[in-house]
Structures are given as C-alpha cells and as structure tokens.
C-alpha cells in the first residue's frame, strides 16, 4: 500500500440527506474520496450504503446536500451526466441485462463513446463498422482480464451468480471510469472467488489508477484492501478513517462489527 500515490479529493460528498417518506435513509452525510484510493463504506444492513451510491449516481435525488466531483458541484445530477463524468458502478442485486450475451452487456458500457448515427448503424458501413470493432477490442481485453472468455456469447441470465457479478464489474470497467462504485461485489462468493475478485479490484486500481468506492460486508476483505473506511449506521456516519482506526472505534464495534472481531 506504500507504492501507490493517493491524489487529491476527486469526489466530495457534502451533507447529504435523503428521506423516503418517513424513513431517513441518510442524514447529513459527508465524506470525501481521493483520487486513486480504495474507499470502503461499511455498516449494518439498511444503514444507507446503497442509497449513498444511488445518490452519487443520480438514481436518487437527495433532499439536501451536494456532491462535488472534480471541483464541479452538483445538487443532484442525472445518471447520464454522472456517467459522462466518468463514474461507473456495479449493483448489489445484479442489474445486468439478462437477455443479452456477456459481450453485449459489456458493449453497452461503451455506448457513451459511440459516435455513428442510426443510419450508419443500420447500414453498418464504414465508420460504424470500424467503430464497432474498436470497441469490441477494448471489451475483449476486459473479458480476458476478468477471465470470462468461455462465456462470451452466453446470455448472462444463464450464468451462475458469481460470474454474473464479474460481468457486472466488466460492464462498469468498459466505461473506462475514473471512479468505480462497487456495491457488495463479493457477496455470495466463496473464498477462492473472493480472492479472484479482490485481485481484479486491486489490479484495476493499480493499473488504471481508477478510484474505487467499495461497499462490502466481509470485514477481512475491507480491512485488507481498502485505504480508508466510512462507517454508516441508521443513515448516520459513525466512523471514518484508515482500517485500523475504524476497527478500534467503539461505536463501530458495537453497531457493526460485533465483539467477536
């Protein structure tokens, strides 16, 4: 963890509050994410972790607060803007395009970069054809990286859960994001698979310098790979710091980790 250079703040969450009717999913949350770091968000079930990502993503519109991305401040953004700014994410409950093949799922990640218009696409002529090949090449690289070559053309709905999680990651990677939000990427995996997944996350972080925000319940993973950790509980922030600090924080222990750790 020493070699790597942590940069400036890239994403800054300021006093975000989010309510659903009576439920306060997030109250007044602030934290920042620095370029190139792996930032974990942990907390008990229902603490508001996924909601936090949804706010960053523009899926939810928080009632209060703002988010600053690379110096630009937004009250709330729409998803398209966020994507254009280079934020990608994966989903807790797998939000893959079930009817499409693995390749097509990853190719959707490239959609923002498609330039040819409908007519060219219909004719598949010249630039459209070339463009398609270029993107395909990028996507193939991700496929190799995630070691899912064998499943290229399988409809993702038919893949086992763990592989679907990988495809989900692949789709986010295909966007060549600067910030990658991962919502429990290792849920439902055994140790071997978690190791694989960690390797992917670390490699992405190292090789492309991608900033990563990670939600995860497996403490060993969080403690091992993250640079800093935010802890949420019932929509409130109860801890923030490097793993060892957080591990020692009594609030965090009582709310989340339990005494056995």
């Amino acid at each position: 963890m020493s070699k790597k250079k942590i940069g400036d703040v890239i994403l800054d969450v300021n006093n975000i509050s989010l309510r659903f009717g009576g439920v306060k999913a997030l109250s007044d949350i602030s934290f920042d994410v620095r370029e190139h770091e792996i930032r974990a968000i942990i907390g008990p079930n229902g603490a508001g972790k996924s909601s936090m990502l949804n706010c960053i993503n523009g899926v939810y519109k928080p009632q209060e607060g703002s988010i600053t991305f690379r110096g630009q401040t937004f009250k709330h953004m729409n998803s398209r803007q966020v994507a254009e700014l280079g934020v990608a994410r994966t989903f807790q409950n797998l939000a893959l395009f079930k009817g499409m093949s693995v390749i097509d799922n990853l190719m959707t990640g490239r959609n923002l970069r498609i330039k040819s218009n409908l007519l060219l696409q219909a004719l598949r002529w010249g630039p459209a054809e070339r463009e398609e090949s270029e993107h395909r090449e990028k996507v193939e690289r991700i496929i190799d990286f995630l070691e899912i070559q064998a499943h290229r053309k399988t409809p993702v709905g038919q893949l086992p859960y763990g592989l679907q999680k990988r495809v989900d990651l692949g789709r986010a990677l295909a966007m060549e994001p600067q910030v990658l939000l991962l919502d429990e990427p290792m849920a439902g995996m055994n140790v071997e698979e978690k190791q694989d997944m960690c390797r992917f996350v670390l490699d992405v972080n190292d090789e492309f310098g991608t900033t990563i925000v990670l939600i995860e319940h497996d403490m060993s993973v969080v403690m091992d790979i993250s640079d800093r950790v935010v802890v949420l509980d019932y929509g409130k922030k109860i801890g923030d710091g490097v793993p060892d600090e957080v591990r020692a924080n009594p609030d965090v222990i009582s709310a989340y980790l339990g005494t056995s750790h």
Binding site: V191, E193, D203, S220
Partner: protein
Amino acid sequence: MSTPSIVINVNGIEVIYNHVILVLKGVSLQVADGQIAAILGGNGAGKTTTLRSISNLLKAERGEVTKGSVELRGERIDILSTSDLVKRGVVQVMEGRHCFAHLTIEENLLTGAYTRSGKAEIAASLEKVYNYFPRLKTRRTSQAAYTSGGEQQMCAIGRALMANPSVLLLDEPSMGLAPQIVEEVFEIVKDLNQKERVTFLIAEQNTNMALRYADYGYIMESGRIVMDGKADDLRNNEDVKEFYLGMGGTERKSFKDVKSYKRRKRWLA
C-alpha cells in the same frame, strides 16, 4: 448411538435445464433427522439446483429431473407440489431473497404462515421472528421492495420460519448480510436445530461459517459431489483449507497478497 433416520435422500439425480443444459450429473446426498448439512461449492456448482430439485421448484425454471429420485422420509416426492412439501414441513428459502415486493414486511411474514391455521400460534411465530430479527420489526410496515438487501434477506428467512418447518433448505442465507447478522443467522439455525429439532440443508459460499455450524458437509463442483465428510474433518482437510477457507498453512492469507498466478485447484472427479 443409533443411526438417526434419513430425512432427505437424494439419489443420483440428473437435472437438465431447457431440455439442453445438463447441470447436475448424478448427485446423491442424505440428510439425517436433526442434522445440519451443508452443501459447499463454487459458483455454478449446482447447489441451488440441488435444493430446487428437493423442493420441486425446478419446473418454473424450465428445469427437469431426468434421472434419479428424491425421497423425504422414505417417500418419493417427485410428484408432490411445493405446497404439499411445505405442508409436510419442508420449506426452502430461495437464493436472491424473493420477497413479495408489494407486500409489507409483516404481510410477507404472514404469507409464510399460509399453510398454518390458528391465529394465536401464528402470532406467536411472528413474535419469534421479530425476536430473531429486531430490524424487521422496525420496518414491518414498509413495502419489502423498499427495504435494504439485508433486510430482505432477513425477511425471506423469517418468512420461512413462519411455516413452522421441520426441514429448512437455506440457499445462501449469509449473502449480503452484515457480519454480526450472519453470525446471528447461524446462531438461529443452531437454536432451531437444537431446541426444535429442525433439520437443515444449507447451501453456502461462506464455507468458514457453514463448517463451523454444520454437522456434515458436501462439496460440489460442476454438478457433482466431489467430497463429503463430517464438518470437522472437512475443516481440517488441507485442500479445503486452501481453497475454501483461504488459508495457506495455518495463517489466513491477506486478500491484498493474492497472487495473480494463483494455483487453482480442480478436483478430480
């Protein structure tokens, strides 16, 4: 000690999805009365499929048992419907939660008691579930779709408990749960097992947890059972240690240090 009677006996089953995809290639396993058995194995090994073929939920997925048989206390159950099985006390908690999205948490739990009668008993069960999962109680009037992933998982488990089962098939109960809740869930399993003699068959990725609580374990890979044995024995098996518990030698290896050229174990089967 007399051998306890076999509750679930899966006999060399073969399962095909969509008429073409062969997923289980002759799986056999037994669960004894009052036992906690675990099925372990990687993604796509066929754990879910095995559970589905026991609870007869395959058809809706266009899957079919083409060979072998499943018996419940010596009775073939291929022809029984899932609801018959629930009446006989066999309940499955499906992978991926499957809460009734438009129903509130409490309504979800109450549908779990569909096969039961007796208002008082149902109310008692509800109380029991709320005791197990206090978090559910606070969210009882919220529509299930709007609860967090973990809350939904609790709801799904709680719903199954509402049927007052004698055999519970749990498909990845720990998925998406916070560590202390995982612990709690397994404590509940132990509790039910010891106090109410509920038999468990658990498909789990969290090998560590599963082997701590289970009596017996099956390890599946690519649609076959490649290894089985007492939980303790499995826990001490070197291969299991390395590949399922993530321990090289005696120490747990840091996730940070996993090598890119990691050795992969493939069982010879």
